[in-house]
Amino acid sequence: MIKELHEKLLAGKITSEKLTQNYFSKIKKKDEKISAFLTLTEDLAMAQAKKTDEKIKKGEEIGILEGIPGAVKDVICMKGVRTTAASKILDNYIAPYDATVIQKLKASGAVFLGKTNCDEFAMGSSTEKSAYAITKNPADLQRVPGGSSGGSAAAVAGDEAVWALGSDTGGSIRQPASFCGVVGLKPTYGRVSRYGLLSMASSFDQIGPIAKNIEDAAIILSEIAGQDKRDATSARSAGKRYEKYLEGSIQGLKIGFIKEHFENLNKKVKNSMENVLKKYARLGAEIKEINLPHIRYSLPVYYIVMPCEVSSNLARFDGMKYGMRIFDQQDSDLEKINPEERKLREIYLDSRRYGLGEEVKKRIMLGTYALSSGYYEAYYLRAQKVRELIKRDFEKIFASSQKGVDLILAPTTPTPAFKIGEKNANPIEMYLEDIFTVTANVIGIPAISLPADPVDWEGKKLPVGFQLMGKWFNEEGILRAAYAYEKSS
């Protein structure tokens, strides 16, 4: 899609201004129902589009993404633009700087339509935990788009943006991509700079693309990848023009799957996944059952370590330097403290009480508990040790193609999109949404979700995705295998 639009721009069949205007009219028509966007950046977008058109008119060369409109999840800072993380505590926050990915995309000439809705601070799997709106799934407005990057996935699926950026801490790009029937890529930890991404859990977070097809996802990744001196965890390798490595046979490629992933699946989803495996076999890949003994612990590891990092990262939202400051609560426990200190304490307590949502508070408290004296060894340290064991399993399986595999295939989600409100009663049930996606974050490997055969579900045909995971920094490998599947569909 990006390539076609690029060619049309070059041939003078469309202008970027016209294209961008078209997307804004689509947004105005559709977003009342879908609620994918929190903020529109129309002036910025039109100025960017104009610049591209002038370059084309002058006969200057333009980049592949130049003049093509996309959307950005509202956890990524864009200079001069309201950036809320879908939280009340940042309701009035205007980012004073650009995230590195935004700097890079600006340099590429990309057009920004606006900021998309998500679960508050990217904590959730349905976009129902946004403090502003519930985004609806364009495939069925009664259903959630998934989360936390639900606004980005819904914007792309609903034709409100050509491409979008999301962030993925435990599945937040891939799960909504699966629910909305689009492509979502979580790069290797360190592939993309996190500078300017509002931190959730720093050892898991990665920014990545949500797009209509594999080639588009590859193009966006090429534009945003690379080392950044502002993110010490960004990897040295510069990345590639990934879209140039998509073609080619996957004959002999070894794709592993884990039996347990498929055994307990709903029959319809299982059927869809088995069709994917069959198709890969037809394309010449060698399908192999593998055993990763510790993978079943990924989710509990995640739900200990992630809240610990959350509790530390979100300590900065205290009503002091920016964001919401509230001071109206009377707390009898504080009566004994001297009145000056008491005022300060009350600002902390009230700003966080009224500024943060329930899920966010829950995770902060869980992390505070797990890190507190006497519990650290039992929770955090133990979880980090199990995390090491999970990593070793994967190192072993990816060590040689001969004895192991090149890629691992898994479902992205246990079911297609669920209905709004369906999973709010039991907190664990929502957490189980991450069961297939979270491992890639726990050990930092790249993973992509792309549409499998849709399933007949409660009277509708709903999208469902499958995942390809690869060795650290092998984005090229998963993209090529994903492209082979897409092309044969």
Binding site: Y93, L344, R353, K361, Y369
Partner: protein
């Protein structure tokens, strides 16, 4: 399992104001999660050291050079309360 008193204590450590009703809900929800992660106790971690980084990384070093942030005024604009160009906060002494 976690008790209501523990939840109140954690809320205080985390600087989050909570109502009685919230304490009850958090006690229930946090207990559910803590029971569920008990599963990790089944894993033998005797000889394992904790993960330090997700892949073998070298030190990431750069020159220690000051870069002036051009948008200082924009940061000042974000202060919740200000006096001239200072962030106004409550005194602690």
């Amino acid at each position: 399992m976690i008790t209501k008193d523990e939840v109140k204590y954690i809320a205080k450590l985390a600087r989050i104001g909570v109502s009685e009703k919230e304490v009850e809900k958090f006690t229930r929800d946090l207990s559910a999660v803590l029971d569920w992660v008990e599963e990790l106790k089944k894993v033998d971690i005797e000889k394992i050291s904790e993960i330090s980084h997700i892949f073998g990384r070298e030190n990431s070093l750069r020159e220690d050079r000051v870069e002036k942030f051009a948008e200082a005024e924009k940061i000042i604009e974000l202060f919740p309360e200000k006096k001239e160009r200072y962030d106004k906060v409550k005194s602690i002494f």
